[in-house]
């Protein structure tokens, strides 16, 4: 369904150019979940945003390669085609729900905006909004939908973000650090919810995270990104149990284990990774 071929993304031009993504290959089948793991600045979020050309251009430059979604190159699409793709076929959930929702519109309006754009089949928008909020486990959705984002807790806000992303029945959900801004118990609830919805709605998911700890139960495959390159790829089990690349090993070593004796947390020594 989705395949990246030798994708290279630069920021800026000329001598100040920075290569954020250095020619990566990646593929994702329908209904599959791929975790893209790496530390800050490894290029994983840039890759996620690039799938629908969300990166502001300039400074971003798609220097080389292709992004094929259902056989069509996203980089060659017209603005109108891109707008159909965004939200309609590929939807996003971002890291910080408190700033990712527009503070001056009710959540009903923000979800309805997506429905209005992509689903001409829906006649009763309010009923559909209620349905979407119900899907992500918001209690009393008919009343809650008239709330503004600031009236909801962080976990609820992220559920609204997910409801908004799912409102148009996308084939691919890009979840960019969806639980990083939430506390641990809420993280688990949100991840459970996403796993359940992914199966129910039969959509593919690209889970972008720096945390190896959360991908276990949810991802089919893992790709590890390091300095703009994919250094390791495999099934979740393979990678977690038998990491090949030194960076992957170091990253997995950083997960604190419950019940472990008190000692210094592991860090990654970049000088040894070359």
């Amino acid at each position: 369904m989705l395949s990246l071929r030798n994708l290279r993304i630069d920021f800026g031009t000329g001598p100040d150019r920075v290569q954020a993504v250095k020619g990566i290959n990646l593929s994702l089948g329908a209904g599959e979940t791929l975790a893209l793991v790496g530390e800050s600045g490894s290029g994983k979020s840039v890759t996620g945003m690039a799938l629908t050309r969300l990166l502001p251009e300039p400074p971003a430059v798609y220097a080389e390669g292709q992004i094929l979604f259902e056989g069509e190159d996203v980089l060659k699409m017209s603005p109108a085609q891109l707008r159909k793709l965004r939200g309609g076929k590929i939807a996003y959930v971002f890291q910080e729900p408190s700033t990712s929702l527009n503070p001056v519109f009710t959540i009903r309006n923000q979800i309805a905006e997506a429905i209005d754009l992509h689903r001409s089949d829906v006649s009763d928008v309010d009923a559909e909004v209620v349905h979407c909020l119900d899907l992500v486990g918001i209690v009393d959705p008919a009343k809650r939908m008239h709330d503004y984002p600031h009236q909801l807790s962080g976990g609820m806000q992220q559920r609204v973000m997910i409801a908004m992303a799912l409102a148009c029945r996308p084939q691919l959900l890009v979840a960019d650090e969806p639980t990083t801004a939430l506390d641990v118990t809420v993280q688990a609830q949100i991840l459970d919810q996403m796993r359940e919805l992914k199966q129910r709605l039969k959509m593919a998911m690209l889970l972008i995270t720096h945390n190896f700890g959360i991908i276990g139960g949810i991802a089919d495959r893992v790709a590890v990104m390091f300095r703009g390159d994919i250094v390791e790829e495999g099934t979740t089990q393979e990678v977690l149990q038998n990491p090949q690349h030194a960076y992957t090993k170091a990253l997995i070593g950083c997960i604190p284990q419950l019940g472990q004796r008190r000692k210094r947390l592991a860090t990654i020594d970049h000088s040894t990774l070359g």
């Binding site: 939200g87 001056v104 754009l117």
Partner: protein, 324 residues
């Protein structure tokens, strides 16, 4: 909300009192009532007529507090005047003797005819141009427009006035450069040039400010969310950026509303428009303390009203704000 408004209105009283006290002290430090009387009545005024003039206006009383034995302490000029203003009695002009209520009522319309169209045009043009510049941001036109705005800001208002009067009235002989008439088509003819000048002289600063406001909004996370939903750039600007930017705009726009009533000191004077700005300008020169005092009184009330209105509008535009 109601309690909040009431509390704010209550605070008007000490603030206005302070402003009036300051105006009073400043004015009578500059010139004693006695000197004013002599200037108004002319060189040949007899001591008797000066005394009468002062007595008729209450200017023969002690200025702030009455220390004369046997007289109540509050029998002073300032306290009498405050009592009068508290009932919104503006008094009469020191020079012409006309009731000030009448003078101000007459000046409001010409002032508003000048400032209101200029204000509406400024906002519409400023917001429209700023949105367009954000839409095409980083293009050559955007850069050129920014430079042009700085140029517009750098030219003093006086240059616009002189240049405008020269070109439009002298060279093109298109419409009059000076004067005012409140009848039919001649009114817009007199007002066109000052309105255009008022808009042009403020446009550069407005556009740059609004553009910066909108650009800041464009960088917000929720704009990314909107784009990720498939919202077009135009819709992003018109819905998401404008509504959020509006909250910041309100402070600037609503707070300036009261000044529309007070008119423009400079432009009214240069174009001979008999508005409130002109009334105040003449009064300062005369000097006519009654007019200055009444202007300051009304002006400070309007200003405070504008600030209160800003808060109310804030609460209306931003669901996160509640007035308590």
């Amino acid at each position: 909300m109601f309690a909040y408004l009431l509390r704010r209105l209550f605070f008007f009283i000490p603030i206005v009192f302070g402003v009036m006290l300051l105006t009073f002290v400043l004015f009578f430090v500059v010139q004693s009532p006695d000197a004013t009387a002599r200037r108004v009545l002319g060189q040949k005024a007899t001591p008797k007529s000066v005394e009468n003039w002062l007595h008729n206006r209450g200017y023969d009383k002690p200025l702030l507090i009455n220390h004369t034995p046997g007289k109540p302490w509050h029998d002073s000029l300032f306290i009498h005047q405050m009592g009068r203003l508290a009932t919104f009695d503006l008094g009469t002009s020191d020079v012409s003797g006309r009731p000030l209520r009448e003078v101000f009522a007459q000046g409001v319309l010409p002032s508003l005819l000048l400032t209101l169209p200029a204000f509406l045009l400024s906002i519409a043009l400023g917001v429209g141009l700023a949105l367009y510049l954000v839409f095409i941001r980083n293009a050559v036109v955007d850069l050129a427009a920014s430079l042009f705005c700085v140029a517009l800001m750098s030219v003093p208002v006086m240059v616009y006035v002189i240049f405008g009067q020269f070109v439009v009235a002298q060279v093109l002989n298109y419409f009059p450069a000076f004067g005012f008439e409140l009848s039919g088509w001649s009114t817009p003819k007199f007002l066109l040039l000052p309105v255009v000048l008022m808009v042009v002289s403020g446009l550069g600063a407005d556009v740059r400010l609004f553009r910066a406001l909108f650009l800041e909004e464009m960088g917000q996370d929720y704009i990314r969310t909107a784009r990720a939903k498939g919202v077009s750039t135009v819709q992003v600007l018109m819905r998401h950026v404008l509504k959020n930017g509006l909250i910041n705009l309100i402070t600037l726009v609503v707070a300036s509303l009261p000044f529309l009533i007070m008119g423009s000191l400079l432009l009214e004077n240069f174009f001979g428009i008999p508005g409130l700005g002109n009334v105040l300008f003449t009064a300062i020169q005369a000097p006519d303390f009654a007019v200055v005092q009444a202007s300051v009184f009304l002006g400070s009330l309007l200003y405070l009203g504008g600030l209160l209105l800003t808060d109310v509008c804030y609460a209306w535009a931003d669901p996160r704000i509640r007035l308590q």
